[in-house]
Symmetry: C2
Subunit: 401 residues, 2 copies
C-alpha cells in the first residue's frame, strides 16, 4: 500500500516529455541496456535534464549511447536512473497520450510517471554510479554522407569475424584512403572486414576537408586506421537505416575511442586495440575469367540447391561452361541437388567450390541486378564486384571439392 | 559425382504431384515430424500412393498425421520415406512450377525429384520401419461443426496444465453432455480444461444422432469422457483455424485412441489414460456480485499495470467500488502502478487479487466486447462468462494479496 500512497501524493510535476520523442529515445537506448545484467545499472536508462535539454542515455560498458529528446520541458535539472525495459514496456502499453509527466525528487525517492490514466511510481538508482569514459583528444574529425556510411557498413559487415582468437578481425577497419592505391583522386575512407575466408572492402569519398587524420597510439606510433567493433558498427547501421536518419554524420576519433553522431543520437565506442592485417595482398589483381550473372537468380538457385545441406555452410560446386553455370550440392546423408543458371562466361570450363552461405552473404550485400565473378582457377580466390558500386570489392576463398 | 549421375540417369518418372497440394501436405506433416529425432524415421515423411490415392504421413509416436494430396497421378503403388524438413525446404526454395515429378524405385535407391529446374536425388528409409498403431474398435462416432470444435478448443486450451505430475490434467477433457446438468435440452459435447488455478469449460451442441458414446476401459468400466492430449488438441486447432477448414469434422474414439478427420487431414492420437477430476464441484453457483466490464479495456489496463512485473504472472489487485475498477500492481523492486477502468458494479466495495497472466488468458479466449465477472468475496473463486457464448464458463481462483 505504501507505494500506491506515493503515487497519490504527487503534487508537482517537474518534467513534461513529448510522448513520441520519449518513445523513440527509449527504443534506441533499450537496444543497448542489458535485460539481465550482472551490474544492475547496466539495465537502466539515465533520463537527464541539463543545459543541453533532455536526454536518455545508457551503456553496456562497450557502447555509450545518448538520445536527445527534443520538445521536453522541466523546471529544474535532474538525472533519474530508471529501469530501461520496464520504462519501455510501460510506454508501449500505456494509454495513448501526447505527453508524459515525470516528477523526480532525487534518486532516493521513486520517480513518479503519469501517462494520464496509467500512474506509476518507480524507484531509481544513484546517478553517481553511472559508468563513464574519458574520450581524450580527438585525432580525427570526419563529416560523411549518412547514406554512404550506411552503404559501406552494409557492404562489409557480414565479413566481420566472430572468432575471438583473432580479436583484431572482430570489427570494421576504417582508414583514410584514395579510391585507388598509389593514384590521385578523391580523398575518403576505406572500410574493410574479413574473417580470413572472405573479405569485403568499400571506398567512400568525402569532401577532402572533412577528413583530418592524426591518430597516435601509445608510444607515439601513428595508427593507419581504427577498428570499429561489430557491435558499434551494427548499432550505427540500425540508426542509419531508420527513416529518421539525417543527411550527414559526423565522427570524432582517436586511437582509443570513436564517437558517431547520427541525428539525435550520439554513440561512443571503444575501438579494438590491434593491428588490422595488410589485406591488400589477398585481393586478386589479375583473375582473367569473368562470369557475369544475375544476382537474384544466382542467390535463389544457391538457396534451392542448398536445401539438402544440414547447415547452409556446406560447399556448393559451380561448374562453368560457356554461358551456363551448373550448381551442385552433395550431402552424403541427404542426397544431391543440381540446378542450371544462365550466365555470360567465355573462359575455359572450370569447376570451383564455395561455401554457400558466404556466397549468399556477398550477394545479399549487393545493390545491383548483376554481379561479376572474376576467377583464375579452382584454387585461387575469386574477386566479386558489381557494376553499380565501383568502389566495392569482395574476395572469396574457394573450398576444396 | 555418383549422386549427380543418379540424377541424370532418370528416364521414367512414375508420379506427378500438383505443386500447391504437395506444399499444403508438407506444411502439415512437417509440423509433426521431429527436426532432430533420436529415431531417424521420426524426421521423415511417408509419401504413399495406393488405392486411396496419394498421401503424406508422419508421426512423433504421440500423433499420427496423414494429409491426402488430391490430383496426384502415379503409374504404380509406392511408399517413399523421405526426410520431411529437407523436402519442405526444397519445395519452398525450388522455382515455381505447377507440378513436381517423382521417380521412386524402392527404398534402397534414392528418390528422384524434378521441380523443372531444380533436380534432386534423395535417399529414403525402409517403409517397413514406420511406426504404426492399432486403433481397435471405435466406441463412439461424432459429427460436429468444425467452427464449434474450433471455438471450444480455443476457449479451453489455455487452461490445460503443463505440470507432468498431474498428467491427467495435461489435456482437454471431452464428454457427452446436455447443456445444463440434470436438465433436458440438446445433446452435445462438453470440453473442459483446468490446471487447478483456473478452469475453462464449454458446451457445444450437435445433432443428437451424431454422438453415440460407449467407451469401455480395460476391466469393463465405462469411461465418462476422454482426455485429448494438449498436443493433439493444438494440432487440431491449427487445422480448424486454417482457411481451408471444412464445415464438419468427424471423430472416432475409444478409451485408448481418438481419430479426428479435418478436411484432407486425419489425426490419430492416443488419449490420456487417467481420470479427469470432478470439476463441477469448483464451479461457483451463487456468486452474488457481478461486475460487467469491457473485455478489451480491461485486458489493456492489466497489460499496462503489469509492465513493472518481471514475470506477467504476478498479482494484479482489483479494487471494486461503485462503477469503477482500480487495478494495482506492486513489485517491491520495480515500484507500483495503478489504473482505473470504468465498469458496471453494484456490489459492496471489495479488493481481490488475481494472477495477471491468467486473467489475460481468459480475456484473450473470449469473443465478446464485454465480460461478466461474478464474485462472492476475496477468498472465493470468480466465475467469468460472456454474453456471446452462453455455453462457456471460466473459473479463476483468487490470489492472496
Amino acid at each position: 500500500m505504501q507505494a500506491i500512497q506515493t503515487v497519490e501524493t504527487v503534487t508537482t510535476l517537474s518534467a513534461l516529455l513529448p510522448r513520441a520523442e520519449f518513445r523513440s529515445a527509449l527504443a534506441i537506448v533499450s537496444k543497448v541496456a542489458d535485460k539481465r545484467p550482472r551490474i544492475p545499472i547496466l539495465s537502466h536508462v539515465s533520463l537527464r535534464w541539463d543545459d543541453a535539454g533532455m536526454s536518455a542515455s545508457t551503456t553496456d560498458l562497450d557502447l555509450y549511447v545518448t538520445a536527445r529528446i527534443p520538445g521536453a520541458a522541466s523546471d529544474r535539472a535532474f538525472n533519474a536512473v530508471l529501469p530501461a525495459h520496464a520504462l519501455k514496456d510501460m510506454e508501449t502499453r500505456a494509454p495513448a497520450t501526447d505527453h508524459v509527466s515525470m516528477d523526480i525528487r532525487g534518486h532516493d525517492a521513486p520517480a513518479i510517471l503519469d501517462f494520464e490514466g496509467l500512474r506509476a511510481s518507480m524507484p531509481g538508482l544513484d546517478p553517481s554510479d553511472l559508468p563513464s569514459y574519458e574520450f581524450g583528444k580527438a585525432g580525427a574529425r570526419v563529416e560523411i554522407s549518412a547514406a554512404d556510411l550506411r552503404d559501406a557498413l552494409q557492404r562489409v559487415m557480414f565479413a566481420v569475424s566472430k572468432e575471438e582468437v583473432r580479436y583484431y578481425l572482430n570489427g570494421v577497419y576504417m582508414q583514410p584512403a584514395r579510391r585507388e592505391r598509389g593514384a590521385g583522386g578523391p580523398v575518403g575512407l576505406r572500410f574493410t572486414a574479413t574473417d580470413g575466408h572472405r573479405l569485403s572492402n568499400m571506398f567512400v569519398g568525402c569532401d577532402p576537408g572533412a577528413v583530418r587524420w592524426n591518430l597516435r597510439r601509445q608510444g607515439g606510433a601513428v595508427a593507419q586506421g581504427v577498428i570499429i567493433p561489430l557491435k558499434a558498427a551494427a548499432f550505427a547501421l540500425s540508426l542509419l537505416k531508420a527513416k529518421t536518419a539525417p543527411e550527414t554524420v559526423s565522427m570524432r576519433l582517436n586511437a582509443r575511442f570513436i564517437e558517431i553522431k547520427i541525428g539525435l543520437v550520439d554513440i561512443v565506442s571503444k575501438t579494438i586495440d590491434g593491428t588490422f592485417p595488410d589485406y591488400a595482398r589477398v585481393v586478386p589483381v589479375s583473375n582473367p575469367h569473368r562470369m557475369v550473372i544475375g544476382t537474384e537468380p544466382l542467390a535463389r538457385a544457391i538457396e534451392a540447391v542448398s536445401c539438402i545441406s544440414s547447415e547452409r555452410g556446406r560447399a556448393v560446386k559451380m561448374s562453368l561452361s560457356r554461358d551456363s553455370l551448373r550448381l551442385t550440392v552433395n550431402n552424403p546423408e541427404m542426397g544431391a541437388t543440381e540446378m542450371d543458371v544462365a550466365c555470360a562466361y567465355d573462359g575455359p570450363p572450370m569447376s570451383i567450390g564455395f561455401n554457400a552461405k558466404y556466397v549468399l552473404d556477398i550477394l545479399g550485400s549487393l545493390a545491383s541486378e548483376t554481379v561479376a565473378i572474376d576467377l583464375a582457377d579452382h584454387m585461387s580466390p575469386a574477386l566479386i564486384t558489381d557494376p553499380a558500386t565501383p568502389g566495392a570489392k569482395c574476395v572469396l576463398m574457394p573450398l576444396r571439392i
